[in-house]
């Protein structure tokens, strides 16, 4: 087997695509004042809160501690900030790199993201979501950003814990996680919940949609936590209104998942017709005592790549030189490269026929054969603009030879 399960080689087409995507995204980050912070790929296991069986673990012979390939950037950046001697909040960082999770599907993923850290108000959430929108606008597909708040369900479950036993709570959480309408009804029959709580739970499974969902949710608020969730979401909506990006927003109070460290606004991004979320993020606590918060997102770059139009491919020329003096070939290669062609030289001594066959199989566009008494240009693979490009190469050659 060439590769272990869940790992891949990356080939030219994907790599070029990733590079052009990276440079576009990086310029957005920089324009908003974010700086690169790339933590090591290997870190102490204690940095992360992901379940152990999802981590690639090994022992550090120097510290005796368990190390792991990072499954997530956010805890590493949070740790970095905790170690800083001086606080210059707000701190703004961006990253690109691989994350590793020991799962059935892809075990290595190339991601990017940002984190803003400090004593943050809801403007931070707005800023992070705005940047996310700008990145998603690079793609040619419609997308939607689903925003929720951990406190809404947290507050509700605080009330429910007064009425239900722990195993009922777990059962109910599973029902909400699976969005199982039938089981919820059955649960109502079997438990002694009052009608008010039943109404809230019924609402939760359907609490999905535009701004009206927040208005509706107000009717079901049972405590301060739930109240804060709604007013936070309303405030973020107002920020996003100012940035004029509210059109892609969907409010989702029904989603019970999210990373275990998130507290506050959480969001997931979906691209139409793609069956998995392409980005996730939210707010998390950095330092409880000093009320330092972080807000950020992680975006799956390889998923996004499928929806980005790739830069136009350059014309590839294969240069076969049969002359004794190599000067001409080198001069020609340099000139063509300057004009934007990709020029590779046939540097193996062999029959021209074999060289041409190989070049054709490698999907190159043209071959130029230089001979003592002139040159041949051969079209290897016909493309739309082959004729014009052929003329261009001819012109360069005639100019050098004259």
């Amino acid at each position: 087997m060439l590769v272990p399960r869940g790992f891949n080689y990356i080939f030219e087409n994907v790599y070029s695509g990733l590079f052009s995507l990276i440079s576009k995204i990086k310029s957005i980050y920089e324009a908003w004042g974010y700086e690169a912070l790339i933590p090591p790929e290997v870190d102490f296991k204690s940095t992360f809160s992901l379940e152990e069986e999802k981590l690639f673990r090994f022992l550090d012979k120097f510290s005796g501690k368990t190390l792991t390939l990072r499954p997530d950037f956010t805890p590493q950046i949070k740790k970095y900030v905790l170690f800083l001697k001086e606080n210059l909040y707000p701190l703004r960082y961006y990253y690109f790199g691989n994350i590793y999770k020991d799962e059935k599907s892809k075990r290595q993923n190339f991601v990017t993201g940002i984190e803003i850290l400090g004593e943050l108000g809801l403007e931070a959430d707005g800023e992070v979501l705005s940047i996310l929108h700008l990145i998603l606008n690079i793609t040619s597909k419609p997308f939607q950003v689903d925003i929720g708040h951990t406190l809404f369900l947290e507050g509700l479950f605080e009330e429910l814990k007064k009425l239900l036993n722990p195993s009922q709570i777990i059962h109910l959480q599973n029902i909400l996680k699976k969005k199982d309408f039938s089981l919820l009804e059955k649960f109502f029959e079997e438990s002694n919940l009052d009608s008010k709580k039943k109404e809230v739970l019924n609402f939760i499974l359907n609490a999905y949609g535009g701004k009206e969902v927040l208005k509706e949710a107000r009717k079901f608020v049972l405590n301060k936590k739930m109240e804060k969730a709604i007013s936070d979401l309303e405030k973020v909506y107002r920020v996003l209104e100012i940035y004029e990006i509210k059109d892609n927003l969907v409010f989702d109070l029904s989603e019970i998942r999210g990373l275990n460290y998130h507290k506050g606004i959480v969001f997931e991004v979906f691209i139409n017709s793609y069956p998995f979320p392409v980005a996730k993020g939210g707010r998390y606590l950095v330092k409880e005592t000093e009320k330092v918060w972080g807000v950020g997102f992680t975006l799956d770059l390889e998923a996004i790549l499928q929806f980005v139009s790739l830069p136009e491919e350059k014309i590839k020329v294969y240069l076969i030189d049969n002359t004794e003096d190599k000067k001409l070939a080198l001069k020609l290669a340099t000139l063509l490269r300057k004009k934007g062609f990709i020029v590779a030289r046939d540097i193996i001594k062999r029959d021209n026929k074999i060289s041409l066959e190989i070049a054709k199989k490698k999907n190159l566009d043209f071959a130029v054969v230089l001979k003592e008494n002139g040159f041949d240009i051969i079209v290897l693979n016909e493309k739309k603009n082959s004729e014009n490009k052929l003329k261009e190469i001819e012109k360069v050659l005639t100019k050098i030879l004259s």
Partner: protein, 210 residues
């Protein structure tokens, strides 16, 4: 338009009956036809093997799917399970030769099944890592031919078990047909899926109440 993965076999007729309420044309949808995709104005129905329904839904080949709870449990994909359709009721059970007096586990206990994951989890939770013999059909033969000490299989009436000299000794889980949804598509196609689910819910309730 909604793409729904529909399983061939046991559940097909009932599913068809249900969908005809939404789109009368569905009555021409034929399980035995070689055509695997049936399109109407509202639906694109894709005919797949029962075990493949959650896979189609999880990877986004279909927005929704209908399949038994047994299949959902076996796969354990991260998908939504929106509704219990209240038909195709059966049990995932352990069965043994009828001569066996008492259901007793021991190290090296062999179980024949096509439900590898459900079986491993169930016995694992009891503290026994049973040896699983994966079979793709006629599982009932395994105890008779001394291939295994027990089987884990779907039991509807128990007739098949009895006819093969087996008895049901333990129910692992009750199963029935479920409507499942891809997580992302429930969100991006909410305006299509939501009304369909609501109507389906009403329909099942009416049927249940006779």
């Amino acid at each position: 338009m909604l793409t729904i993965a529909i399983p061939k076999g046991r559940l097909f007729k009932k599913i068809k009956e249900l969908l005809i309420y939404f789109e009368p044309k569905v009555k021409d949808f034929d399980e035995s036809s070689r055509k695997l995709i049936f399109e109407t104005n509202k639906f694109r129905l894709v005919l797949v093997k029962p075990f493949d329904v959650p896979t189609y839904v999880y990877y986004g080949g279909a927005d929704l799917g209908i399949c038994g709870k047994d299949v959902i449990l076996e796969h354990d994909y991260d998908i939504y399970e929106l509704l219990d359709l209240n038909f195709g009721k059966c049990r995932i059970s352990i069965a043994q030769k009828k001569e066996v007096k008492e259901f007793k586990l021991f190290p090296g206990f062999k179980v024949a099944t096509k439900y590898e994951n459900i079986t491993r989890k169930y016995f694992g939770d009891l503290g026994i890592d049973v040896e699983i013999i994966k079979l793709y059909g006629s599982v009932e033969l395994a105890p008779i031919l001394n291939l295994a000490d027990a089987i884990v299989d779907l039991v509807e009436t128990g007739t098949t078990l009895r006819e093969n000299g087996l008895k049901e000794v333990k129910v692992i889980e009750h199963s029935s047909a479920r409507l499942i949804a891809n997580r992302a598509f429930l969100k991006t196609k909410y305006n299509f899926i939501k009304p369909f689910v609501e109507n389906l819910k009403k329909l099942i309730k009416e049927k249940k109440e006779g």
